[in-house]
Symmetry: C2
Subunit: 442 residues, 2 copies
Amino acid sequence: MTEPTHIDDSHDPALQSWVASANAADTDFPLQNLPFGRFRRSGSSDPWRIGVAIGEQVLDLKLALTQCPWSREVEPLLQPLARGELHALMSQGATARGAVRAALSRALREGSEQAPFLKLCLVPRADIELSLPCRIGEYTDFYTGIHHATAVGKLFRPDNPLLPNYKWVPIGYHGRVSSIGVSGQRVRRPRGQLMPPDAKVPVFDAAKRLDYELELGVLVGAGNADGKPMTMAQAEDDWFGLVLLNDWSARDIQAWEYQPLGPFLAKNFGTTISPWLVMQEALAPFRKPFAHPADDPQPLPYLDSPANRERGAIDILLEVWLHTDAMRAKALPPHRLSQSNFGDAYWTVAQLLAHHTCNGCNLGPGDLLGSGTQSGPQAGQGGSLLELSQGGKQPIALPNGETRTFLADGDTVTLRAYCERAGARRIGFGECAGTVLPALPF
Amino acid sequence: MTEPTHIDDSHDPALQSWVASANAADTDFPLQNLPFGRFRRSGSSDPWRIGVAIGEQVLDLKLALTQCPWSREVEPLLQPLARGELHALMSQGATARGAVRAALSRALREGSEQAPFLKLCLVPRADIELSLPCRIGEYTDFYTGIHHATAVGKLFRPDNPLLPNYKWVPIGYHGRVSSIGVSGQRVRRPRGQLMPPDAKVPVFDAAKRLDYELELGVLVGAGNADGKPMTMAQAEDDWFGLVLLNDWSARDIQAWEYQPLGPFLAKNFGTTISPWLVMQEALAPFRKPFAHPADDPQPLPYLDSPANRERGAIDILLEVWLHTDAMRAKALPPHRLSQSNFGDAYWTVAQLLAHHTCNGCNLGPGDLLGSGTQSGPQAGQGGSLLELSQGGKQPIALPNGETRTFLADGDTVTLRAYCERAGARRIGFGECAGTVLPALPF
């Protein structure tokens, strides 16, 4: 293999794959995407392996390393992947990440000399189960959705919905890793302390106001040494990729517990992410200029850079779908609750890393940063039921005659995301689904 | 070795060790303590080993396993310790923990048949360096110091210092593991967004109001399965032990960032814990009855048990010492800033575990739960400078003529703790020291 790896044409929309299903117009996983996931044969107890989604197939990287030669530059980068470990590549930074992507793109495109060998390394996606794409280090959840922050703030402070720090500080807080699961997770309705309306004392009961939050999750790359903040330029290079993230939330637990130290048990009983980790490089065609509105405070210098202004935002369409037990019983399809766009976020991914590390806090490979709920500016674009039902006051009518203010037992919430624009191949994120189990009996 | 391991006389104050320094009246580490730590020879790059502090010595458990026989019950429990890994023992629960403690107590007491062999396994504590006592899983910080919560609340809300949830909910929030270090940590003064007094816009600058917080840290034992809350009885058995914990805090960063999701960059630039993990069993003689004041709300049933009422609290005296550059320059000793007692905490250790898991959130071996700042009821017993200086308004006079409202560069803060009562052997926690480095230059 002698192609120079620094020529990366992996986004060329004209490129086709020798994996036929990757060339379908509506696939989430064309040759231009190439996300990583950890998989094994459904129902087996095999060790988890790393694969790359391509159309309806997965390229098994363990087999791929043994079945055909790779360049001297790329082979050592693929070896830890073949052992099922993504952290080693994450910790190598942008050049290594780009080299692996370019090599995979060449190997999977039509006319590749590797095709005859790699055909032996494909597993149908229908035959696999997926785990978390990597070991999550630590988890921080941000709050970059200004339309969400405004809508939620309005419920509490109609005249002053946004707190004074919002337009200066990328607000964030630490979350819990142990309860993060992958798409397909079954999340038990939590019990907790609730203060019923008009009550004087709290009760311990199952949450009544269970909700989802539509977010993206950023997987950190190499990170930074303890005490050494990342510059914006370092932050822009460092982040590895994105997944979908559902930050399940119990609004009634949250309302009673969150003062003064923030959400805790209202959020840490379950968080679901999608299994396919879409690399930063796959999103390059969908980057766009970033700016705060002219009347707003402009980012402080540690959160500002020319590259961030030029291409800091990412145009990603986000959707929430609901499938209820009653819909399933009548074989009705899921219902789309809302759409929004990550391009409306008030802070960029690089700003989250630069802010998180500006005090010297050290990030590491596989750390997960939630974007916060992504709601659009219009009514009906809320990224949570709290917003869509206006704090539970306006039930949402579903097409089968059901209504929802908050989630019912059996409800399946599915997040989806995709990028599309003229002149680029559409790419998708797959899905992030989770189902509500009833609370434990008392 | 055939002694029945269920007879645990390890607290008998009359017991003496064949390690002479363990019998000194003022040692933190008599035979009745036996805390675990991870150590290596100072300046070496040897792998970290697990040892047990005994007087001025450490018993090297790797050597101890090879040098003499152990009972059939205890030997498999010691094997992972000999490999430098505490998690395996943590995950075994209370019976295993007690069996190991009883075996170590018998081995180290006067007249032990193992003494001639174990003498070869001692390393002077003066010759070692220590790491974190175990790999920290995740970190949650609670807020059980009601005198701290009241004092801090008064600074913001003179008429209503405690929020309505405080006496019902063991308030907590998630923290950051990557910046947790062991005693001796050098913590760089963080930079961050600050809102100067009377300013209209924030600045990015070095924190001016750097503070410590005097806490204990609980190390979780086996933990609980996802979705399965711990009962109080399970929580009482499960926790493995305690360390000292300094939750370094930048009050000016905190004031500007913390609404509405809680502290973030104000806290995650550094947290220091002590290296010697004092097991729950060592604290047994210092347990005491626990009750909320009669006029306060009583704990909800999931936070209540007979054992918790009978012996939920722990009488541990806590101290903060300050050593400044100016004191060091004149060879003056450190100055004690305050004393308080963990027996004044508003919630017990078991209540923290039961609350954390009541929504199904899963804890695991090595998870760390901070107690929150432990301040006493009297003026001058504040567990932070924020309290001792009344929000920075009343400088504290030091004996050498210096004053402090918040920490200066070069200041070393040392936390100490010990338990003593008539009829029990005094035990100590060693020390938890950390030194402030100047902020990075701009």
